[in-house]
Symmetry: C2
Subunit: 292 residues, 2 copies
């Protein structure tokens, strides 16, 4: 119902999730057929997008509060936003601008770096488990367990037999979490090779951005085609009914922010969390407060 | 210097920190001499406060980014906002409205509840250590280790000899953290007995706020005078040069938000974090990017 209302309001024929979803089932994915500069379902321009963001932010914050409130009465549901994409694709910018619209007290944000020695001694999902949102929270992963089928595959950090078994492991893991109340919004931020160059050059040109520039990013860029293959495999094999992948064209930052906030909104509207009923008699406490 | 500039701009004779700080040294504190509805140093009204918040939010976010950037080059500094105050004093509202102006990726927020069984088996500072901000982060404690000299004292959860030794323990702990780069902003949100009644009644009247109403809050309210004594002892004994306490009048939410954001701003301006210099030669990478 919520989705239909949105569709009417913005003139969309159907939800954004349907438009951006990689259909589950394992059909081959060819990223070259997705235009990174496209704006499917989006507003016509940046100005309009910024206007919409205000209303979207309010609705998101209100749904977030309900989700949080419901958990105080035992509702185990939570949302997990997974952000993947190459360096400069805008994972950090999405957290800043989209998650910045929410109440930070209800967010649990983790940026996954190269695993520490301790993390390496454990199963690759160990550090993921520890970072999961608790009931009522919105979890945000800036990179995730998918690194273990991305850089681990491209850089051959583990034998092929090991990373290739991980796709099915991840699907089982996510299915179990879904059964326990986790709603996934998995977003692949899709930028072009040319746009990445522009962004890296901008970091080099601006001294206040030098700290963000990692020389290693240029090395990774030289493996662009290998990463594309790894992303395609991830999208093909791990877009499931329980936890589908969405491909968000990300060359335009305003569209990226608009799309991710809409995906979260549609997901939360479908979850439709409710304020729990009082577990006390308000009259009793009104009377007690009247006297002191 | 930053503080002088602020003073000039807003017409304040001196920084807000000086105005709201409990002078270190252990002189008796009488909370009845602090008006919870006052607005010391603040803008004349809500509208003006909201206007200022936009500019303050931008400056805060910019300083936060520098702090974060500096940590990538080894700067160990971080900021820790400690929020204490009775139920309904606005700790959660402060996180939502003030911390909501920051980049959530650089914030580490912990709401301390009654200790779990595991936490109870450890020293009272164990769970605090685990929640500290890492270098470059802004930590936010909604309640804190001070609960161990507040509810623990009022409810006699531990023998008097034990809680009374904690004031000095806390001071040593905070001194050690300060030496390691933690800048404290400890805020006591000061509301009146009458304002608490209004806020509790509002929660009872609004079904969408019932989840926030804890019947236990009414029991705690009946111990108001005991809590006042415990707050006064905390302010007297733990306002140190290294980590002073600020008393923020909190009956007016707009003033509370304004004041806490200003305290953070003054602290960050004094810290004056800097973007680190590049540890690479930009020309080398510009050339590599030109070819692919």
């Amino acid at each position: 119902m919520a989705r239909k209302r949105d569709g009417e309001r913005s003139g969309l024929p159907r939800g954004l999730r349907e438009q951006l979803r990689i259909p589950p089932g394992g059909s081959p994915v060819d990223l070259s057929s997705y235009d990174p500069a496209a704006t499917p379902g989006g507003p016509p321009d940046k100005v309009k997008a910024r206007e919409e963001a205000l209303a979207t932010g309010k609705r998101l914050a209100s749904l977030q509060e309900r989700l949080y409130a419901a958990a105080t009465a035992g509702d185990r549901r939570r949302l997990l936003l997974v952000l993947q994409g190459t360096d400069t694709s805008g994972k950090g910018g999405t957290v800043k601008h989209v998650i910045g619209m929410l109440n930070p007290a209800g967010c649990r944000i983790t940026a996954f770096k190269a695993p520490t020695d301790e993390e390496r001694r454990h199963h690759f999902l160990w550090r993921i488990e520890r970072a999961l949102p608790r009931p009522g929270e919105i979890g945000i992963f800036d990179r995730s367990h998918y690194e273990d089928v991305l850089i681990a595959r491209v850089r051959e950090l583990v034998p092929a037999g090991e990373w290739s078994a991980r796709y099915a492991e991840i699907n089982r893991f996510e299915q179990a979490l879904t059964d326990d109340g986790v709603a996934f919004v998995k977003v692949f931020l899709h930028i072009s090779h040319a746009e990445q160059r522009r962004r890296l050059l901008r970091r080099l040109d601006d001294p206040s951005k030098h700290w963000k520039f990692d020389p290693g990013d240029v090395e990774e860029r030289e493996l662009w085609d290998h990463y594309r293959d790894a992303y395609e495999a991830m999208l093909e094999r791990c877009s499931t009914v329980a936890a589908p992948w969405y491909v968000v064209p990300a060359d335009r930052k305003w569209y990226r922010n608009w799309a991710v906030s809409r995906l979260l909104l549609e997901q939360l509207e479908e979850m439709d969390p409710r304020y729990p009923p009082a577990r006390f008699d308000p009259e009793v406490y009104r009377a007690r407060l009247a006297t002191g």
